[in-house]
């Protein structure tokens, strides 16, 4: 009982801090906006003197409260029985602590606001309107009471639901029944056949490809731009995947190679500052080669270092490239802070590729090419060498792999992909400047690779869709995106270090400890 109480108080404290943090960064208001879009209740009549916006915010807080209660009612792992009383008291306590913390803050902020202190000078999200919303339009004391009562109630309810629905005896029974049904279906010969055959996979890929190729025709210019950006991030992700996922070298300056590709394309095809006006098709391979060459030149001294030095040196290199492209010293050569405008577009068989749709197709082609190359590389001798190196450098050296050459190769190929991405990016945007190549690009790409699944092509594509595509759908969450990236990196490392869609081999490594060894179906028997 004492243990349960302590756990519940902890849970309430954690959730209290989370709720307070969400309020301070203005997320409670954003969530209310999101809900009002979802329920379409912006103009609904007030309920209990609460306008729809306040109700939506309370719904959001209530969800957190339920979660806090459910978490607080959890029993410890060593406990075998799961009594109702402990679960309910746990939920109630967690809710009470949660409510106390939140209402304390509401009281403080509300009183300060009443006294005319402009809190938003220091905490920029706490505008008077936001505070009014948080106090549901009442005086500080009343608002705080609302919070404490509401959060305690939802905490209790959370405990009730968690014990009754989540951990009830019927749940165990229904779970077993569901499993047996699944088992029966998978025993059928036809299911086995469809699953086992390689053609199924081809059919699925074919349908996906067809969908992807038809999509740009129906999507407007905005969505085509977004699809193109996602495509470029898939390119970059696949390139970095070789460096980080396969060879196990953490490169935080990946944007440098992207910038080299972009600037090569820009300087060779734009009228300013050099008036070269070369064709896109000449500039593209030059950009790719230059990026690969820079990769080699940077890699040669640096790849002998320990892995974590590499991360910082590449980070520094990325910053150097950005500072150089921005500096006055190189302005006559790179266009300086104002960047390069009017970058050339490709022409193929007399047809200029300058509309949004054309570029989406061009990017698709590049992505398909890179997927093909990556796939072949991954299953080749070189790919195996990379993976061996990632797992254990000493052993792989003993097996006769020249680790330095292999690392350089991985670095150069990854850089070449980034160069390709950069060249396409610059040509599509018709403009490139130093701020297109800041550290955030590197971090985005690292996040794409790690969240999606290191060393795995579908994982990288899923990661790019999730991290670059999803925020475009949820525009309101734009401000929180980068912070969520950071949190996601930590959470992924704690919870699924192999990524959302881990490669079969990595999955096997992670699950090895649990005694479940799956046969990897990838890269064998070819």
């Amino acid at each position: 009982m004492k243990k349960q109480l302590r756990h519940a108080v902890n849970a309430g404290g954690i959730f209290g801090i989370i709720t307070i943090f969400l309020f301070l960064i203005g997320f409670t208001g954003t969530a209310a906006d999101l809900f009002s879009d979802l329920f379409r209740n912006k103009n609904a009549a007030p309920f209990l003197s609460l306008n729809p916006q306040m109700l939506n915010m309370l719904i959001f807080l209530g969800l957190i409260g339920l979660w806090a209660g459910a978490y607080g009612s959890r029993k410890s792992k060593s406990q075998t029985d799961d009594p109702w009383g402990a679960a309910l008291i746990g939920g109630l306590t967690a809710g009470l602590v949660h409510g106390l913390l939140v209402s304390g803050l509401a009281l403080l902020v509300g009183t300060l606001n009443l006294r005319g202190v402009r809190i938003n000078v220091y905490l920029s999200e706490l505008l008077p309107d936001a505070i009014k919303l948080f106090l549901v339009g009442k005086s500080p004391l009343q608002g705080a009471t609302v919070h404490i009562v509401f959060l305690t109630l939802t905490g209790f309810l959370g405990g009730l639901l968690s014990r009754g629905v989540g951990r009830g005896s019927w749940r165990v029974r229904s779970g077993a029944a569901w499993n047996s049904i699944l088992e029966k279906i998978s025993q059928q010969s036809i299911v086995k056949q469809v699953r086992g055959s390689r053609n199924t996979r081809y059919v699925v890929y074919g349908i996906l490809l067809l969908l992807v190729f038809l999509l740009p025709l129906r999507a407007g210019p905005y969505w085509n731009y977004t699809i193109g950006t996602v495509g470029i991030y898939v390119l970059l992700g696949l390139g970095l995947n070789i460096v980080v996922g396969l060879a196990g070298l953490l490169d935080l300056g990946y944007v440098a190679f992207f910038a080299i590709g972009a600037y090569t394309m820009a300087l060779l095809t734009a009228p300013q500052p050099h008036h070269l006006m070369w064709s896109f098709w000449i500039a593209l391979p030059i950009g790719v080669l230059l990026a690969a060459l820079t990769g080699l030149l940077l890699g040669a001294p640096v790849l002998r270092m320990r892995g974590d030095y590499l991360a910082i040196v590449t980070l520094g290199f990325g910053e150097i490239i950005r500072i150089l492209s921005k500096s006055d010293a190189l302005t006559p050569f790179t266009g300086g802070p104002s960047g390069v405008k009017a970058i050339g577009f490709p022409t193929l068989f007399g047809k200029p590729f300058n509309s949004g749709v054309d570029f989406v197709y061009l990017i698709f082609l590049a992505v398909l090419l890179i997927i093909f190359v990556t796939n072949r590389l991954q299953n080749s001798r070189v790919g195996r060498a990379w993976e061996a190196m990632r797992e254990d450098e000493t052993v792989s050296r003993a097996m006769g792999i020249n680790t330095l050459t292999q690392k350089l190769l991985a670095f150069a190929i990854g850089a070449a992909f980034a160069g390709l991405g950069g060249a396409l990016f610059a040509s599509r945007n018709v403009f490139t400047g130093p701020e297109d190549h800041n550290l955030m690009v590197s971090i985005n790409v690292v996040a794409v690779v790690i969240v999606g699944g290191m060393g795995n092509i579908p994982g990288v594509i899923a990661g790019a869709l999730m991290l670059k595509g999803l925020p475009e759908v949820l525009r309101q969450l734009e401000d929180y995106r980068v912070m969520v990236f950071g949190a996601l990196l930590i959470v992924m490392m704690l919870w699924r270090p192999a990524g959302m869609i881990p490669s079969a081999r990595r999955k096997m490594e992670v699950e090895k400890d649990k005694g479940v060894i799956e046969t990897p179906d990838e890269g064998r028997g070819k």
């Binding site: 220091y122 002998r304 910053e319 150097i320 950071g486």
Partner: protein, 366 residues
Amino acid sequence: MPNVKPPARRVTTYKIVQGIIGVVLAGYLIWRLFVVFIANPSYGPDTWARFAIAGLILGSVYALVAIGYTLVYGILRMINFAHGDIMMIGAFGGYFVFEALKSIPTPTLADPELTFLNAHPVLSVIAAFIVGVSIAALSGYFLEKIAYRPLRGAPRLVPLISAIGASIFLENAAQLLFGAQRRDYANPIVLTRGEGWGIPIGGSNVILTYTGVLTVVISTLIMIALYLLVMRTRLGRSMRAVSENKQVAALMGIDVDGVISRTFIISGALAGAAGVMWGIHLGLVYHFVGFIPGIKAFTAAVLGGIGNIPGAMIGGLFLGLVESLGPAGLGINFQLKDVIAFGILVLVLIFRPTGIIGEVLTEEKV
């Protein structure tokens, strides 16, 4: 790992390239020194003194942050990527103390508009340091507990990525909380930035700012205290033992997790002090303030040999001086001073990866 017999020395291509780069760089440096000091002296001794003073002050801040990197690296063999952001948290702590004290009126007969900040400047600065240091130390503790402790024993890449995530999270959370604008540190009037003692050098007056002297004095005191802590106390001894060998330390009855926690608290406290000094001396604080100093301090730690505490101090001072004297000495644009720091990092890693003094890594130098 068994002891591998070192292979016979032979001249590799890499060595040759290394030699060529070295000769070219050394030649360039000598030529530049000749130009700057003898052939075409464009700066007088007063300007050089100004650069040197600025470099020394900056270097003493870098040194404090670098020690934090080195302490953590020595014990966990990981780069605490979020260390610079802990410095930012400390800077914000000091900022809020100054803002709060500025709003407390303590009227006297002579000056009815006097605020607490100006009435008791010493107390105010002490309060800013205490708050900044404790908030930073606390964040260091929680950072380790949430983002690093569950990953102990994972492959090296895993905690590093987690640390990068923590750094991104802290920077952007600070931006969302406090807004993106740059804020002025409200120093007490006695510590107004840019004012100080004038020293006549080469015919003109070189100003030794009060804030700068405060920074150097405090960071020297902290470094001495830290040295005594690591070398003379029980905690310091257990820290050294854990950094030698965790298993054996645990067998000797040392609470390894506790020691690691305390190391993070100490390194966070150092970063917090550095943050408050950064704010008092340079005067600007915003969510990204810790990023570049963090990377430079890491460079300083590598320069001095990572894992080596005196090395980090010397590396920090050296980097501060080079960064401040470098652009003038090499005759390049002052915008490129960050490039010098990163360039030095790359060069050190090429020529002497163990740092100037040599790192203290007994084993597993993978």
